[in-house]
Point group: C2
Chain length 479, copies 2
Amino acid sequence: MLRLLLVLPLLGAAGALPAPPRLRRGAAPAAGPYLTRYLSQPIDHFGFDENRTFRQRYLVADQHWKKDNGPILFYTGNEGDITWFCNNTGFMWDVAEELNAMLVFAEHRYYGESLPFGNESFSDSKHLNYLTSEQALADFAVLVDYLKMTIAGARHSPVIAIGGSYGGMLAAWFRMKYPHMVVGAVAASAPVWQFGDLVPCGAFFSIVTNDFKKSGTGCSESIRNSWNAINHLSSTDAGLQWLSSTFHLCSPLKNLQDAAVLKNWLSETWVNLAMVNYPYKADFLQPLPAWPIQEVCKFLKDPRLSDKLLLQNIFQAVNLYYNYTGEALCLDVSETATKNLGQTGWYYQACTEMVMPFCTDGVHDMFEPEKWDFDAFSEECYRLWGVRPRPSWILSMYGGKNISSHSNIIFSNGDLDPWSAGGVTQNITNSLVAVVIPDGAHHLDLRSRNPLDPKSVQQARALEIYHMKQWIEEARHSH
Amino acid sequence: MLRLLLVLPLLGAAGALPAPPRLRRGAAPAAGPYLTRYLSQPIDHFGFDENRTFRQRYLVADQHWKKDNGPILFYTGNEGDITWFCNNTGFMWDVAEELNAMLVFAEHRYYGESLPFGNESFSDSKHLNYLTSEQALADFAVLVDYLKMTIAGARHSPVIAIGGSYGGMLAAWFRMKYPHMVVGAVAASAPVWQFGDLVPCGAFFSIVTNDFKKSGTGCSESIRNSWNAINHLSSTDAGLQWLSSTFHLCSPLKNLQDAAVLKNWLSETWVNLAMVNYPYKADFLQPLPAWPIQEVCKFLKDPRLSDKLLLQNIFQAVNLYYNYTGEALCLDVSETATKNLGQTGWYYQACTEMVMPFCTDGVHDMFEPEKWDFDAFSEECYRLWGVRPRPSWILSMYGGKNISSHSNIIFSNGDLDPWSAGGVTQNITNSLVAVVIPDGAHHLDLRSRNPLDPKSVQQARALEIYHMKQWIEEARHSH
C-alpha cells in the first residue's frame, strides 16, 4: 500500500509539468501578445453516440506571419493550462520573425479551460472517458483543418508541430499519425519510449542521481542516506514531530504513512530539480537560481552526518526549491500531488494509456529501492478511477521503437534531463533526427534565448531551425 | 422522402459486397483449408470506461509458411462474413506458396461472427457506437501484435495488408496509420477518395453507364428510357399490377413509393453488374456468365420500344442477374436492402464516417437525375440510427488526397469498376503506386487466376507480387 503511494506521484511528475496557479502569477511571460480563441470540437471523435461538443481553447499570434501561406508553428498542448506553455515556450516566439510564422498554441482537452464537461469533467470514469492522446490528436487535426480553411492566406501554409515533454510526444505522434496535417515536428524532451520494456525502468532515476552526483561531492550520497534517516526517525512519535518541525511542514506527520508521503515528496523534489536544472535563474516549476542542483548540493556535502544533521541539510536543500523567494510560511508535502486539474488529468492518463514503468534499486540511483509492480499499479488505478491500464496499447498504437518509416521529426533531449532516458537520442533515419544537448535539462531548447545558454543548446536550436526551414521549403516545392 | 430511399441503398451497394447467405452456400471456395481462431479484443480501443471485450474471428492458413519469419499476408476484413472474403480472395491463396506466406483473414467487427454485443450489436446507437474504421484498424493492430508474439517464428515476419473495396481502404489506411505493423499494403478497388469533394459525385454512375454503353448498342439508352416507362406505368393501379407481374415480383407494387423501391432495386442491379463484370463465369454477388453486361445488353438493343416492350426487356436483363440458375420463383425488390447484418452495419457506417456523396444527372449517366443532398441524407441517418454523419472527419483522419508522405501502398483499380471513380489511379510517389486494369471490374486482381484472365490483370498481379517481394526484402534487410 505504501509503495503505491510512491508510484502515482512519480507518474504524476512524469511528463507532469502542470501549472500550479501560483506559478502563472509569478512567471515573466516570454510571450508577446496573442489572441485567445475557441473551437467547438466533438467530445468523441471516435464514436457517434456522444454527439455533444466542447470548446477547445487556442492562442494565436500572427504579428510576424507572412499572410501568403507563411508557415504556422503549432504547439501541441500538453497536460496543463495552455497560457502557461505559451509563456514558457520562448523558442517559438524567438523564431517567429525569422520564419515569418504564425504561432498557434492548442490546449489539450481536459486541461486549462478546455474541459469537455465543465466542472463535471473529472467526476467519474464516464466523464473522463474522452481523455486520451488519440482524442487530443484528433482535436489538433480538426483545429489545423479549421485554421487552414478559415484564415485567409493559410490554405497552403505548412504547419509544424512543436511540443515539449508529453507535448513533445504529441508533436511526434501528430506527425506520425497525421502527416498530411504537419510537414514536420519538433519533439523536445519527449519520452516516447518510456513504455513497456523499451528502456530500463531504472534509467530515469539514475539520470536524476547522476545530476546530483556531478553537482557536488557527497550530494547524491547524502540523499541516498536520507531515506534511512527518515525511516529511523519516523519510527517514533518524537521523531515524527522532529521531522515535521525540521521540515517546516504545514501539517505535522502522524504516522508511517505520512512519513512515506514525505519521502515521495522529497523524491519528487529531486526529480523536479533535475528537470529544471537550467543554466540561469528561471521560474518554470519554481523560481530558482542558475544551476539549482549545484546550489542544493552546497547543503549536502557530508553524507556521513548523524540522521538529524543530515536531515537538517536535506531541509535546507528542498527549502531552496520550494522557498527560494523566502515567501513560504511552511512546506506542504501534499501540494504537488492532486490539487490542480492538470495533475488529476495526468494521473488518469497514466492509469490508462500512459503507463510508464519506473523503478529504483538504491545502487544505480540514490532512491529507496522500489520494483515496478504493474499489478499493484493496476489495482491502484482501479481503486482511484475504476479503470484498468492497458500498458501495451500505446506500443501498438504508436509503434514503440519501430518508427523508421515516418519522417521529418526532430527528437531533442538534454543529457541532464531524466526524461531523456525514454527519449530518442540517436538518429533513426535522415529525417528522424536526434539532437542531444549535453548541458540541457528538460526541453531547455524550447525556452527563450538567454545570454547564459550553453553552446550546445544554441546549436540544437540552430539545427531545429535548419530542419524547419527545410520542411517549409519542401512543402513549398510540392505545391 | 422518396429520393432518400434511393440514397441509402446505393450507399449500401457502395463498397457493400455483403455476403447474402445463399451466396456462401453456392460459392465454389477458392480457399484451401484454414483454421478458425478468435482473439479477445477490447470493445473500445479509444476509451477506458467500456472495459468489456468481444471475440474477433480470424482465419489462418499456414501450409506454405516458412516458419523462420516468412511473410504474413493479412486480409483486412471488410463489411461481411470473413469466410466469404476468404473464399473470394483467390489471389492470396495463389501467391502463398510463391511467397512462402502465411495467410490471415481478419474479420471486421460488427460483421460475420465478430459481434461486440452479440445479437444486441445493432439494437441502437449505443451498441453501434464502436463500429468505426478506427476501431477496426485498432483490432487489426492488436491482432498483428498478438500473432507476432504468440506464433513461434513469426516475431520478425513482415506483414502485408491486403484488402478489396472497403477492405482495400482499410489495407491502405492500416499501412498509413500503423506502418510499424505492416511493411506494405495492396489496396484493391479501394475508393479512398469517394469522400467530400475529392472526386465529382457523378463519376461513379457515369462509369456504370459507360460499361453498359460499351457492351451493346442501345443498352444504356434502354436503361435511361426505362425510368420514364416505369413512371408512366406506376401512375395507375393497372400499371402497377402489370409491373408486378412482368417483373415477377414476390410482393406486388401498391403505390408510387413501391415503384421508387423498384427503381432503386434496378439501379442497384446495374451497379452490381458493373462491379462483377468479370471475363469468365463467376459467382461473386450472384452466379453469372462471363462478361454479364454483354449478356444483359443482348436484351436491351432497342431503346425506342414502347414502355411495356422496353420494360419486358428490362425484366429479361435483371432476371439474368437474379436468376441465372433459373431457381428463383419470384424476384424480391427488398432483398438486397437490409436483410443481412453486413448491410445493416454498412448503412450505419455510411451514416457516420463513410459519407460518400453520389449524384446522377441523366445526361452523363443513364440514371434518373438525383442531386447529392447532404442535409436530407443527414436527416435520414438521424431518423434511422439517431446519429449524425460527420462528412469531413474521414478527410481529417486519413488525409484526403494529401497522402504523399506515406509509402508502400499499391492502389489497383479496374476501369470497368464504378468504384475506380473514387480510387487512386495515378502514381503518387515511387512507393505509392497506382495499378490500372483496363479490363477489370471490382477487384478482379484479388480473384483466383483464371485461364480467361485478360493480360492486364495478369500484369497487375505480377506487379503486385513484385512490390510485395520488394517490401519483404526491405524488411529483411532492415533486420
